[in-house]
């Protein structure tokens, strides 16, 4: 078909996205080179790379980066493993597969903020059911949210509870779409169930698994709502992820210049990763289906 003036249809979207996404980014880029605070947003002194340098010298920045990486690595790896086995489990049931699937994807439809608040109640050291359970069953006084590492683990558990369902759903759908012949052939050759999973199923769903992992990595990297409402980044800075740190820079310390510098860095990293993803996997998977 002729490539005639097709771009006309794209204009409204491009204008709208230009206004709500591209223009804000350019604005951020400008602010990141100035000494802007809440009191002089538009007339901040030009400081060149000053904000970037002060960011790299800020121990709190490195701290939040470490917290974020730990949080993302722990949550995503647990979710990938659990989600995969859940998908295998539901896939091996003879009946009611659809019912189990629907029940298992409910958690991810709940607003992350609401999920966070529920866990804030579950974790409460006086009347939260989890500490109550430990008190009555093992006679242990469990303090969850005021020990640094334990608080971070508690945040990982919230993420796992909510987003394992994502890994499960996508893996399960990928399993459903696999051809049956390789499995039948392996069965005739006498391969056990786990052998078939390892040597037939895993290689076949690898491309889908990579896509799932990328989405989980990106989305858990974004996490804000639950952590904000449960710990507010504490105790100390134990659960202050990059998103929370940026938020504090902006709206409690009003250091707009430095906050903008940080968002520029984050966006650059995201664009580089998206570029890799786009080239390597999106095409590959889209081509396979």
């Amino acid at each position: 078909m002729r490539n005639d003036r097709g771009w006309r249809f794209v204009i409204p979207s491009v204008i709208l996205l230009g206004f709500v996404a591209l223009f804000p980014f350019i604005f951020s880029l400008y602010i990141s080179f100035t000494e802007s605070t809440a009191y002089n947003i538009y007339h901040g002194k030009f400081v060149g790379l000053g904000n970037y340098i002060s960011l790299f010298k800020d121990i709190k920045f490195w701290d939040s980066l470490r917290v974020t990486l730990l949080y993302v690595a722990l949550s995503v790896s647990i979710e990938m493993i659990l989600g995969f086995f859940l998908a295998l489990l539901v896939d091996s049931l003879d009946r009611y597969q659809r019912l189990f699937m629907i029940l298992l994807i409910i958690p991810m439809m709940i607003a992350p903020l609401v999920y966070g608040i529920i866990f804030k109640l579950l974790y409460n050291s006086i009347y939260g059911p989890i500490p109550l359970f430990f008190r009555s069953a093992f006679n242990i006084e469990l303090q969850i949210l005021n020990k640094p590492f334990r608080a971070l683990l508690a945040m990982v558990i919230v993420d796992v509870f909510q987003w394992t369902s994502f890994v499960f759903l996508i893996t399960y759908s990928a399993l459903q779409a696999l051809p049956k012949e390789p499995f039948e052939a392996a069965m005739i050759d006498g391969a056990t169930y786990w052998k078939r999973v390892r040597y037939v199923l895993l290689p076949l769903i690898r491309p889908a698994f990579v896509v799932i992992m990328i989405f989980r990595l990106m989305d858990s990297f974004k996490t804000f709502d639950q952590i904000f409402v449960i710990t507010g980044g504490g105790p100390g800075t134990a659960t202050t992820t990059l998103s929370l740190y940026t938020y504090f820079l902006m709206f409690t310390r009003y250091n707009f210049g430095k906050a903008a510098a940080l968002t520029v860095i984050i966006l650059m990293v995201v664009i580089v990763i998206t570029n890799l993803v786009f080239k390597r996997f999106f095409r590959e998977v889209s081509a396979v289906e």
Partner: protein
């Protein structure tokens, strides 16, 4: 596999479902507990159900009804507005090679970026054009995620519509615009419904932007729920009732879109 191990598989599946849905079930049950019994420091499984928490939500102290109405309005407008630009937009992208690569990459980048990246400039822009704490202001901010999501998902639906349909219409002398609205639009309807519901869910569940951009007039259901956590006390009864109210419509919508959920969540990378 023999019968006995089959039964164990079902038992395991039921246990897993119960564990993963425990937080939700707990909050729904707690929403019917008398206020005095929620914060008792012992495990107690029996109570006489009450609606007092729900009554409290809609009393004069908390304008929760207004928050619900705000959320419905904002989610609807950001969803419909996004579709209005995304239907022609995705059509343009899917049918015209030159535009496709760059715009597609750009849109995916926006989807991947953390919202915090857009927070500061959007906040300042809204202040500037005096749209802070208004419904149009928040809708505009929500376009940062509803528009890319819509374009991308619609694109995957459009790729399934054969080009021969358009070609024959073109031979009959139809213009591009006519083809889009007379031929593509009806064929795209399932995709539009799926995108509508996905956008609605994402807008309804959004918290971060709503927290920054609203104070009073345009407060949404998520920010309203978080407001029950105050510096002095936490209104657990109200929180559980509010959470139950906000979660139920989302679960119903999930059932409606489950067929297209995978496509929506992975931006069409997996179907």
């Amino acid at each position: 596999m023999n019968r006995k191990s089959k039964i164990w598989l079902y038992i395991l599946a039921v246990v897993v479902v119960l564990i993963f849905n425990f937080p939700l079930m707990f909050v729904i049950v707690t929403s019917f507990k008398p206020l005095g019994e929620i914060m008792l420091p012992n495990l107690k499984f029996t109570f006489s159900p009450t609606l007092e928490n729900y009554k409290m939500l809609f009393s004069e102290t908390f304008p929760f009804g207004k928050y619900i109405l705000n959320s419905i309005t904002i989610s609807l407008i950001s969803t419909i507005g996004a579709l209005a630009v995304a239907v022609p937009g995705s059509y343009g992208i899917s049918r015209f090679g030159k535009v496709k690569k760059n715009v597609a990459f750009w849109i995916l980048s926006i989807r991947m970026a953390p919202p915090v990246v857009f927070a500061l400039p959007l906040f300042l822009i809204l202040k500037w054009i005096k749209l802070i704490d208004t419904i149009p202001g928040l809708v505009m901010v929500y376009f940062t995620f509803t528009v890319p999501l819509s374009i991308w998902i619609l694109n995957t639906f459009l790729m399934e519509i054969p080009k021969s349909v358009e070609e024959s219409a073109m031979i009959d002398g139809a213009t591009r615009g006519q083809i889009l609205y007379r031929i593509i639009f009806p064929l795209l309807m399932p995709g539009i419904v799926a995108v509508f519901i996905m956008n609605f869910i994402f807008s309804w569940n959004e918290f971060f932007f709503a927290l920054l951009m609203t104070m009073d007039r345009a407060v949404t259901i998520t920010v309203g729920t978080a407001r029950f956590v105050t510096g002095y006390s936490i209104y657990w009864g109200a929180i559980c009732a509010a959470s139950t109210i906000s979660v139920i419509p989302m679960i119903i919508m999930t059932f409606l879109v489950q067929k297209y959920l995978v496509r929506g969540l992975t931006m069409g990378a997996i179907k």
